[in-house]
């Protein structure tokens, strides 16, 4: 992607910034040869043939390419590169270190890698809430909660077909946890035919499909709006109205001289609230029931913990309602954030 970009700049004529034949986006022939070769391998679908075996050998070249001024200049304009993963710099800065044979990924690495790797689509894990995480209002009966096993099933919607026929396999889940990335509102993904779709609208569509599916007619849904920290960055220069669904976002920002945070929610908070209400209204219009919503910042364990506990509360309310106890419960979490 970067290579194509710099190529076209190299060939462009009449660029006012050109001093000589090359411009700030041109890389050396040697690096160009390396990246051409790498691109060819990617296109042939054979990336697995050279990685991971050759990572150590190529890591210095990757780092050199990354630190190259031309590369960095292109990277400065990454907002124009729709398909580039946001987390590119996190890994590329440490290309050599990560490529070492003995490198062990840390928790942060794993969190950052989520979404840019192609997993097999379905993953699940069982867990219990540890006894030590005591909430102030916990009743005596809750103290046995650490014995209750929960199963969280992660489903990547894009690898599972359009019809959601596979949803029938999840008819026994107790809670559907639907994750939406708050920063998807101006991002697009491109399908095989080159058609670009707004990611937030795609989320809305999938959400609607799942909620209207007869299997989930009576199920509780917990909407997770994630990447709040990134929303705070983005909302300052990219308006929410970039997304067709959010055309009527018109927050009244009062410029109070006191600037009291409690009385004056930030733009990001307003945006979060607005998006939550959009989804809630959509859900209620379909089901007549209430949608539970929770913000999450994936890189902050606390916020994830809070959301999961909210999920647990919802399940408990269900239990009270039906007045029978279950030994294990399940959740399903389709994610459209790539």
């Amino acid at each position: 992607m970067e290579l194509q970009f710099s190529e076209s700049h190299f060939l462009a004529t009449g660029n006012a910034n050109q001093v000589d034949e090359k411009n700030i986006y041109s890389i050396s022939p040697r690096l160009k040869a390396f990246s051409s070769w790498l691109l060819q391998i990617m296109m042939s679908g054979n990336l697995g043939a050279i990685f991971p075996a050759a990572t150590r050998e190529y890591a210095p070249l990757v780092e050199e390419l990354w630190r190259d001024k031309a590369f960095q200049a292109t990277y400065e304009r990454r907002n124009e590169l729709l398909m580039l993963p946001r987390v590119a710099d996190y890994f590329l800065n440490r290309a050599v270190e990560i490529s070492r044979m003995d490198y062990e990924p840390c928790e942060m690495d794993i969190l950052y890698a989520e979404g840019i790797t192609s997993s097999n689509g379905v993953a699940s894990m069982e867990f219990s809430f540890s006894n030590s995480s005591r909430d102030g209002y916990m009743e005596p009966v809750d103290q046995n909660d650490h014995l209750v096993r929960y199963q969280l099933i992660r489903v990547h919607a894009d690898s599972l077909g359009e019809n959601c026929k596979w949803l029938e396999m999840f008819e026994d889940v107790d809670l559907v946890v639907y994750c939406v990335s708050l920063i998807d509102y101006d991002e697009f993904y491109e399908d095989i035919s080159g058609v670009c779709t707004n990611k937030m609208l795609a989320s809305k569509k999938l959400f609607t499909n799942i909620v209207t599916h007869p299997i989930f007619a009576e199920k509780d849904f917990l909407l997770i709006l994630s990447k709040f920290d990134l929303l705070e960055e983005k909302i300052e220069h990219v308006p929410l109205t970039q997304c067709d669904w959010f055309q009527d976002f018109n927050p009244v920002i009062s410029f109070s001289p006191h600037n009291n945070n409690r009385n004056n929610p930030s733009l990001a908070q307003r945006a979060f609230h607005y998006i939550a209400v959009k989804y809630k209204r959509l859900f209620t219009s379909i089901t007549g029931r209430k949608l539970f919503v929770s913000p999450v910042t994936g890189l902050e364990a606390d916020s994830v913990d809070k959301a999961l506990k909210y999920g647990r509360e919802i399940l408990r309310w269900d239990e009270d309602r039906y007045a029978f106890s279950m030994n294990s419960t399940e959740s399903m979490e389709p994610s459209t954030s790539l």
Binding site: G121, V122, S124, G161, E162, N163, W166, M169
Partner: protein
């Protein structure tokens, strides 16, 4: 019992326009097959799965069955003794289909992991007592809904997928020999849910899809389907070739089963019975008796109808019999010699039904 063959031989087929097999048969004085209370009974209940059973398959010759369940396991059963000979823990618990190889030496399965995994039943188990995967057939971009080995070929099988394609695989190399449908070719326009290879002509297979159609394919021509069969008004969950290979049956979310003729493309018969005020439950799976006179259909409400294919009458509901499943029937299949039917259900059990309590061919 052989009237069906005589009925549709040669030029008479041309006279049979859509859905008139039953009318013709009645005009010929045919009477429906009748079942007395002891004619078809549940003679075995195979218990062992701890989750819903999604799929089952018999071996082509000996009486073994492989079943796949939501508990993430394949179990191989001896149908005569109810013994479990293998319990295979799967890498991905979300399995949707399983199949026995023609030699009975291997089983294949697939599901939400988009991969078809092959297990050789004779291989040594690893340290944890698990059977290792012999081959993983990956390439599908969606879930694997159904798989079937090519008759007499342990080395080839066909899969259907949520990615709208069917694929013929060479198991020895793990590569795709042909892709039917998909981005660059015309094929199904929605998830493909089921396939059935023609027992009389194993080059041909039929597929059923969420696009409400069934399509006939020639394995040598992947670029387009030989014929597309319309008629259903909902997802086609199950397709099965009729024993003579000239027709095939389908079962759908629209609650009907249908019989199609592959040469003319005509819909020959609809098998449908109103359920009073209730919604007609979807058909999950179908199978034909050896002669084709009977069509077995499993429904989501636990019913398992036995249809007289000739006269389009429901002659028995296994769901109403003693000892029947008390939940959705998700899969069913007839043994190779036709003497027994096996049903799999959301109640985690499999049941074997035999004619007259003794197994004889019908």
């Amino acid at each position: 019992m052989h009237n069906v063959e005589r009925l549709v031989a040669g030029r008479k087929r041309l006279l049979l326009l859509d859905t008139d097999v039953a009318g013709y048969a009645r005009s010929q004085g045919k009477t429906p097959v009748t079942f007395g209370p002891t004619d078809l009974v549940c003679c075995r209940t195979l218990q062992g799965h701890t989750g819903k059973v999604y799929s089952l398959d018999w071996t082509p010759e000996r009486n073994r069955i492989v079943s796949a369940s939501q508990d993430g396991r394949l179990i191989v059963w001896n149908a005569l003794t109810s013994q479990k000979t293998h319990a295979i823990k799967l890498p991905c618990a979300w399995v949707m289909t399983c199949a026995f190889s023609p030699s009975g030496q291997s089983v294949a399965c697939g599901g939400l992991d988009s991969v078809c995994s092959i297990f050789n039943l004779n291989s040594q188990t690893d340290r944890d007592g698990n059977l290792p995967v012999t081959r993983m057939l990956s390439g599908h971009k969606g879930y694997v809904s159904s798989c079937q080995y090519v008759p007499d070929e342990d080395s080839h099988l066909v899969t259907s997928s949520g990615d709208q394609t069917c694929v013929l695989w060479d198991i020895t190399t793990g590569l795709r020999t042909s892709v039917f449908g998909g981005e660059f070719q015309s094929g199904h326009t929605a998830d493909v849910l089921s396939i059935s290879i023609n027992g009389s002509n194993s080059r041909m297979f039929v597929s059923g899809s969420c696009d409400s159609t069934a399509r006939l394919w020639d394995m040598r021509v992947a670029s387009r389907a030989v014929r597309t069969f319309h008629g259903h008004e909902g997802d086609v969950n199950s397709v099965k070739f009729f024993p003579d290979g000239n027709r095939f049956g389908t079962g759908s979310d629209d609650g009907t089963c249908r019989l199609f003729d592959i040469r003319t493309g005509h819909q020959l018969q609809v098998y449908y019975q109103p359920h009073g005020d209730n919604d007609v439950p979807p058909v999950t799976s179908i199978a034909f008796s050896i002669s084709g006179r009977l069509l077995f259909a499993g429904y989501t409400n636990g019913d398992c109808y036995v249809w007289d294919t000739l006269l389009a009458k429901m002659v028995l509901n296994l769901g109403s019999l003693h000892n029947s499943h008390d939940a959705r029937i998700s899969c069913l299949g007839l043994s190779a010699d036709g003497s027994a039917l096996c049903t799999g259900s959301s109640d985690t059990n499999l049941k074997i039904w035999a004619f007259g309590g003794h197994r004889r061919v019908i």
